[in-house]
């Protein structure tokens, strides 16, 4: 013993902390165990103080500044500012210092305020009182003083101050109820169990007598995993060791409910509690727009540096003549003369950098941030995404990804709770092939025409009767449902109002509730669990009591759960309930075939099926099982694996009883939404844990698969027959052949009816496909699989484990096109996929709020996805795309004239514009119109976007931020700046343009260029605006007016605080000249002309479908009186798919093709009101599986 402890000690100090996966030992109440027991190494634990704040009063300024300047952009601006401070630069440091200071200050204030709130919250928590048992008395202490090993008394409705092991509760059975709403959002009550040997302690004194140690793992963030062992020392015997699991661990942050008080011992405190460990910040997701923005930024940085380099070089070439470098009229100071030429060149380079640095403006970052932040309010404000039932609208957790909503190519959706309502209803059960339907639904709409329905009255023979009752009892016993007697619990209410008492069932799984309720309707009512006895009210109104011996909990790997009970007559039974695939292989007798037929029939109808089996146990068998379980439960290491093995041994050789069917109805408008997403060019994948048939039926009902869809199967069933390799290659060939002929067809104009494919794959096959390569072929599988998937419009992945869902998302994310993925789900099992996908959307469903919390956006219902993507996503994308492009454009326009001016001022870094103009250009003269545009622009009205999902394809693949478009904007900027500069140049060319013969100087020149610049840039935006509300008018014309007023004011006064008055009356003098007006008008028109021309020509000759719709909309508005349904004009999408080229502009040839398409086949009417949401009929149910290939 001592030796191992020593070895432990050595290894602990040698291996370093990262390998320290050791356990910790806690002395309950800090009492040493009796001597002679194992020697423990005392450990130091942190106190219970929670520190969520980032800063303290002292380090706020340096630390915050450091954090802020770690951002590349801020750092760049800081460098520019410092350069301006240090060297003699053309512009004053104010021009870049002021905006930078503003940005930094605002951010610092915001972060400081947030941190202050966090400090306040920390203090409130750290100082809130807790009750600690010391020497048999209750002592009040501040929460932060709680230490590991303290025994705590927690009363009802109090929150646990740290992670605690439950010792005893006020309830006799040693259970307590806890809600973990603030941890994982699940508001249902969960039951926790006290340690068996201590659950009888009821007073402080008793607790104080306890001598025990707890060995447990070091804290880890998984909320649902905990392994430990408690050693209780009684007398002088060997300690009694009991296993501790997550059912004994009360988590910090959870609240005690329905239990008067509990005694518990603290094991993880402060920052080591699971809650604190869980709030590590999530990895930041970045949108595609942000990535292209950064790429553009790099380009502009290169332009900036090359501009500065070119100018510096030319300066020294030009200056090689000393009379140019220093003519007699323009002498240098001695200091300047003496400087080394290299230093001079370097400072010149820096000065040019400073002069041109406005090309990358601080304000762009600020505007983008503001756009995202403010813009996301439109999502939360949206009335149509508000759900009356839940009383909630959409939530935005990160506004960074708004525009990504407009770029989605793959949608991964969960089935249960997302596509379906997760509102389970018991439909039928089948015992030995006899079908039972509860009365309540008998007269309902579901009386499917299938034959062989036996009503409950037509009971089979006495033997069957026995089996039937066993089946019902099995369902009544084999579950983890709790009964709640009160009405005032804020859990999920499933009230069934009985005659005598209002009680309802609570469970983490709605299926179980549905089953238990179904049983109630069939005559067997589960009453409660009392003293480890389950009570059932049978048909004869007799209470039957079963002793609950063991519960083998459900897990998603086994996909079944079992209970072992002892009936009042002393018989031992094991009841097992689970998915058919996990039950059938374990069944040795029973009417397997008939049940299986029924299960498959139900699955095809989209019902969730469970199979029930039992096994009668002998005392001896039970004894063995107990031993197996106990040894597994007591294991400190690998407990999960050992438990799984034990379960596997126990749950075998079962007798099949029957099956149940529970319906999960499709969500409202789910089919319509999926159809829209399809039309929008998105590929929808359903990832579900359900079995294939059920999932496929749901897919048909939700129109993911249509009747015409050719289904490709990649399931274990098939791979059993053929090797995976063959199946994959065969599927691949099929798909690719189609793909080739499709391309061919498009050109012959006959492709309107092309085959679309749907793929079904199950988890087992998927993991086979994904399995890391033993040889090289496996990597190949993955490629083929991806190739198949790419050509399928819909994919159904069934039997997925949560991690597999994330794996699939990752696989698609990493495929060579790097498509944008979106994952939507409602449950905790979808969190991994939500976190993995580019955009994660949580549905505020019935399975708690965990998905919603971890998502980027949360919506009440699946149907809201449609508006989220098609309308909001589309808008955000075009808004931000324009914002980014326009920002770069306007800064090229701004800075390039300065660059050109250097050629005319001897490369002396003379700024063209006045300091005020340099500073305010991006901050005020041109900032508001683009911000407003990026908030409220709507190029097409919302209704059309919703009605015509294919418009979404117009912006696919980040097409507004392609390099081609970016280069177009940049060249437009270059052209415009040339026009500004040379226009002014020729106007000034060695002459005067005043009527009194007086001459203008360089500041007038700059002001003229600047005026043209401001007007052009603002009007360019005005031309791009398709949605002129009064706010737009106000802001656009207002900012132009502001420029004029500001200029008048700036030049109208001798400013006392300035050491130069160069702008004095410059603006007014300029405006007093007629030719200046004429020149400004002319130059603005010349600058705008090419862009207008390009737009008009493109619209007339090669219109995108967006533009066609816009035209049509306009026509429609003008001809509203006559009813002229306008056909959908975008059959060109066939071309998009066929060519797989840039979908925005199709070539001439395909244009001809499109015309023939419109005349030939008309898809559906865009403007006719007949296009209502297609009814979700039950007929879809009956669509069988078309399994070809």
């Amino acid at each position: 013993m001592d030796f191992s402890a020593l070895r432990n000690l050595i290894s602990r100090y040698c291996t370093g902390e990262e390998n320290w996966v050791d356990s910790r030992t806690v002395y309950i109440g800090h009492r040493e165990p009796p001597p002679g027991t194992e020697a423990y190494i005392p450990q130091r634990f942190p106190d219970n103080r929670i520190v969520s704040s980032k800063y303290t009063f002292w380090n706020f300024v340096p630390k915050n500044l450091f954090e802020q300047f770690r951002r590349v952009a801020n750092f760049y601006f800081l460098i520019i500012f410092l350069v301006q401070l240090i060297i003699d630069t053309p512009t004053s440091p104010v021009t870049s210092g002021l905006p930078l200071f503003f940005v930094i200050t605002v951010t610092a204030i915001k972060q400081g305020y947030e941190d202050w709130l966090r400090h306040k919250a920390d203090n409130a928590v750290n100082q809130c009182p807790v009750h600690i048992i010391q020497h048999g008395k209750v002592v009040r202490k501040q929460s932060r003083k709680l230490r590991v090993g303290d025994v705590v008394l927690v009363k009802e409705d109090e929150t646990f101050p740290s992670d605690l092991i439950l010792l005893s509760t006020s309830r006799d059975d040693g259970t307590c109820f806890v809600t973990t709403a603030s941890l994982d959002g699940e508001s249902s009550h969960k039951t926790y169990y006290a340690v068996q040997d201590t659950k009888s302690f009821n007073t402080e004194k008793e607790v104080d007598m306890l001598r025990a140690t707890i060995e447990c793992e070091q804290p880890q963030p998984d909320l649902y995993k905990f392994v430990g062992r408690i050693n209780i020392y009684q007398d002088r015997d060997e300690p009694i060791a009991r296993p501790l699991g997550s059912e004994n661990l009360l988590l910090r942050g959870a609240t005690l409910k329905n239990t008067e008080f509990v005694y518990a011992v603290a094991i993880y405190t402060g920052m080591e509690s699971k809650m604190a460990l869980n709030y590590q910040s999530k990895s930041q997701k970045r949108s595609a727009v942000e990535k292209s923005m950064n790429a553009f930024l790099v380009v502009y940085l290169c332009i900036l540096i090359s501009k500065a380099l070119i100018n510096t070089t030319l300066k020294y070439v030009w200056q090689s003549n000393p009379n140019r470098d220093e003519p007699w009229y323009n002498g240098k100071t001695d200091h300047e003369r003496q400087r080394h030429v290299m230093i001079r060149a370097f400072t010149d380079f820096l000065a040019f950098m400073v002069l041109f640095n406005y090309i990358i403006p601080v304000s762009m970052y600020v505007t983008v941030e503001m756009q995202k932040f403010l813009g996301s309010y439109f999502i939360t404000w949206d009335d149509e995404m508000f759900d009356e039932e839940l009383g909630e609208g959409a939530l935005v957790n990160t506004s960074d990804l708004n525009e990504e909503l407009g770029q989605v190519e793959y949608v991964f959706t969960d089935k249960t709770g997302t596509l379906t309502e997760n509102n389970m209803e018991f439909i039928e059960c089948c015992v030995d092939g006899h079908v039972y339907v509860p009365h309540a639904i008998c007269n309902g709409q579901i009386l499917s025409g299938s034959s062989g329905i036996d009503m409950i009255d037509s009971s089979p023979g006495p033997d069957g009767k026995e089996r039937e009752e066993l089946f019902f009892r099995a369902l009544c016993l084999c579950h983890t449902v709790q009964v709640k007697e009160e009405e005032t619990v804020d859990g999920i209410k499933r009230g069934i109002h009985q005659g005598k008492a209002t009680s309802f069932y609570i469970s983490s799984s709605p299926d179980e509730v549905a089953l238990v309720e179904g049983m109630k309707r069939l005559g067997f009512t589960y009453l409660r669990l009392k003293d480890n006895h389950m009570e059932i009210l049978n048909r004869e109104d007799e209470v039957e009591r079963f002793e609950l011996l063991e519960v083998l909990n459900f897990d998603s790997v086994r996909r079944r759960m079992s209970v072992i009970v002892r009936s009042s007559s002393g018989h031992l039974y094991l009841f097992c309930k689970g998915a058919d695939s996990s039950i059938f292989p374990r069944v040795i007798s029973g009417k397997v075939d008939r049940v299986r037929a029924r299960v498959e029939h139900n699955a095809v109808e989209g019902l969730r099926t469970l199979c029930v089996a039992y096994k009668a146990l002998s005392q001896e068998e039970y004894h063995n099982m107990c031993q197996l379980l106990d040894s597994a439960k007591l294991a400190l290491q690998d407990r999960d694996r050992k438990l799984a093995e034990a379960y596997d041994l126990i749950e075998r050789d079962l007798v099949l009883l029957g099956a149940t069917a529970v319906e999960d109805r499709l969500q409202e408008k789910a089919a319509d939404t999926i159809e829209s997403l399809h039309k929008a060019g998105m590929k929808v994948w359903v990832l579900t844990g359900d079995k294939m048939e059920t999932a496929a039926a749901t897919c048909y009902a939700s129109k993911l698969f249509r009747r015409s869809t050719q289904i490709l199967e990649l399931t274990t069933k098939r791979t059993e027959e053929q090797s995976l390799h063959d199946v994959l290659f065969e599927l691949g060939r099929t798909v690719l052949r189609q793909h080739d002929s499709l391309t061919h067809d498009t050109f012959s104009g006959l492709s309107s009816e092309f085959q679309d494919y749907g793929l079904i794959i199950d988890g087992a096959t998927l993991s086979a496909v994904m399995k890391p390569a033993q040889d090289d072929s496996s990597g190949n599988y993955r490629e083929i699989f991806l190739e198949i998937c790419r050509n399928c419009s819909a994919v159904l992945c069934c039997r997925m484990a949560p991690l597999q869902k994330a794996q699939i998302v990752k696989l698609i994310k990493a495929s060579k096109e790097h498509p944008i993925t979106l994952a939507v789900g409602d449950g905790a099992n979808d969190v991994s996929m939500i976190l993995e996908a580019h955009v994660g959307i949580g549905i505020m469903g019935k399975e708690g709020r965990q998905a919603a919390r971890n998502s980027d956006y949360a919506i009440p219902k699946f149907k809201h996805l449609k508006k989220m993507l098609l309308v909001h996503g589309h808008y955000y994308y075009i808004r931000i795309a324009e914002l980014v492009q326009y920002f770069f454009y306007k800064n090229v326009c701004f800075i390039f004239p300065q660059f050109l001016y250097q050629f005319f001022c001897g490369f002396s870094q003379q700024p063209l514009y006045d300091t005020a103009y340099l500073t305010l250009y991006n901050i005020s003269f041109t900032s508001l119109p683009i911000l407003l545009y990026s908030l409220i622009e709507q190029h097409i009205s919302m209704d059309i976007l919703k009605r015509d999902p294919s418009l979404y394809r117009d912006i696919a693949k980040n097409c507004l931020l392609r390099w081609r478009i970016f280069i177009y904007w940049t060249f437009l900027g270059l052209f415009d700046s040339m026009v500004f500069f040379f226009g002014a140049y020729f106007l000034f060319d060695n002459t005067t343009f005043t009527s009194n013969g007086q001459i203008f100087g360089n500041w007038t020149f700059g002001t003229l260029v600047f005026t043209v610049l401001v007007f052009t840039v603002t009007l360019k935006l005005a031309l791009d605006t398709h949605y002129w509300t009064w706010i737009n008018h106000f802001v656009v014309w207002g900012s132009l007016l502001f420029y004029v007023v500001f200029s008048l004011l700036w030049g109208g006064v001798i400013w006392p605080f300035l050491n130069y008055q160069r702008m004095y009356y410059v603006f007014v003098q300029m405006l007093s000249s007629g030719p200046a007006w004429l020149g400004i008008g002319l130059l603005v028109i010349i600058s705008l002309l090419p862009d207008v021309l390009k737009k008009v020509l493109c619209r007339a000759l090669w219109p995108t479908s967006t533009e066609r719709i816009q035209n049509a909309q306009k026509l429609y508005q003008s001809h509203r009186s006559e009813f002229t349904p306008l056909p959908l004009l975008n059959s060109s999408r066939l071309d998009f798919e066929a060519h797989n080229v840039n979908p925005r502009r199709s070539g001439h040839r395909s244009k001809e093709l499109m015309y023939t398409h419109w005349r030939g086949s008309i898809g559906y009417c865009t403007f006719s009101s007949t296009l209502g949401p297609p009814g979700i009929g039950r007929m879809h149910r009956l669509v069988g599986l078309e399994t070809s290939v």
Binding site: L117, F988, R1099, P1103, R1108, L1126
Partner: protein, 370 residues
């Protein structure tokens, strides 16, 4: 209870990288307001640039710009301008000698006279400019080398000029007034114009030297410092003249309203030119009466007091006589540009009309009919 509210806080705090609106508790169970703005349904004008809508604009621009352009062009052509280069680069040029041997400190000014003849009479007021080429008045070091508060009559700045004036700030321990490179390099050629009457006599033409600077410059921006006495020289006591000047600033002119900092030649020079080739207004020849032209056709002599060296940096000096219209001096650029843009717009209008006719209407018709 405390901790539960805390945990919400904490979570918010950790998500603070991007605090989503409405993420907090208070947004829950609150129905969004159904206002037009929040629902993005504000009434709006939705213009679309199509060939059809842009067409009229193009034609209007075309029809408007061409006449304006023609008007501007004609006006520009009617302006009479005469320009003569008197730098003296060639051996043959009369000012060659002066240009060869100049010295800032020579007491004896070098004079040369250049003869020229005007083919046409100059009606109305004639403006006399001097022009410099290859002269970088817009060099950064040069542009900022001035002290505006000194020029505005600030006494402190007079005695202690701004650092920007270096190296023309102090001389012999005395502050320079006006300081800086611009003032130091004040154009100091004197130009006189004689009309050579056919009968052989030379008449000096009267050159008006006021009204050549901006009114605001002369009356607000530039002001002489106000001292004890009315005498300007007393006020400028304790300052020295710029290095290259021969006179003190208070000796620039005999007229007290045109002396010191408010000397218009100085003011004109202080307004730095935008481009390296520039002209500055020198004098105005006012119209005498309706009967005779201001400058009748005939021979003239320009008498130059050659002080200003430009050959070291390959500069040129010119004298320009020009009449002025409402649009200023002779500059055909604006007229030509207007005519060009007008024609281009008109042409594009026609092209768009064709396109609109062929494509626009076809597609639109197809939209409706099918």
């Amino acid at each position: 209870m405390m901790a539960s509210s805390y945990s919400t806080k904490e979570e918010d705090g950790h998500q603070s990288g991007a605090p989503g609106p409405g993420g907090g508790v208070n947004a829950k169970s609150r129905k969004p307001d159904n206002t037009a703005f929040k629902q993005q349904r504000l009434p709006a004008w939705q213009p679309i640039l199509t060939a059809g809508t842009v067409l009229p604009a193009f034609f209007i621009i075309g029809l408007l710009f061409i006449p304006i352009g023609i008007g501007l062009y004609v006006t520009s052509n009617n302006i009479k301008e005469y320009e003569i280069d008197y730098t003296g680069v060639d051996m043959s040029s009369p000012c060659f000698n002066c240009s060869q041997n100049y010295s800032w400190n020579s007491t004896k000014p070098c004079r040369c006279s250049v003869s020229f003849s005007l083919d046409q009479p100059f009606e109305s007021n004639v403006f006399m400019y001097y022009g410099l080429s290859n002269y970088y008045q817009n060099h950064r070091r040069y542009v900022k080398s001035r002290d505006d508060s000194q020029l505005n009559g600030n006494l402190n700045a007079l005695k202690d000029p701004s650092k920007e004036c270096e190296p023309y700030r102090m001389n012999d321990g005395l502050p320079i007034a006006p300081c800086g490179a611009i003032a130091n390099s004040l154009f100091n050629d004197t130009l006189e114009l004689y009309y050579n009457d056919p009968n052989g006599t030379k008449t000096l033409i009267k050159l008006v030297k006021t009204g050549i600077a901006w009114w605001t410059d002369k009356h607000v921006k530039f002001r002489n410092p106000v001292g004890d006495g009315s005498n300007l020289s007393a006020v400028f006591q304790g300052t020295t003249k710029p290095v290259n000047w021969q006179k003190y600033v208070y000796q620039l002119d005999s007229d007290p309203d045109n002396n010191g900092f408010i000397n218009e030649d100085l003011i004109v020079w202080m307004r730095t030119a935008a481009l390296p080739t520039f002209r500055k207004l020198y004098r105005i020849i006012e119209k005498q009466g309706d009967a005779t032209p201001t400058l009748p056709r005939g021979n003239y002599t320009l008498l130059v007091t050659y002080n200003y060296p430009v050959r070291s940096f390959e500069g040129r000096k010119r004298m320009i006589l020009s009449t002025i219209s409402w649009m200023g001096g002779k500059n055909p650029f604006l007229g030509i540009a207007y005519i060009t843009v007008g024609s281009v717009c008109f042409f594009l209008g026609v092209v768009l009309l064709i396109i609109h006719h062929k494509y626009g209407s076809r597609s639109n018709n197809a939209d409706i009919s099918s």
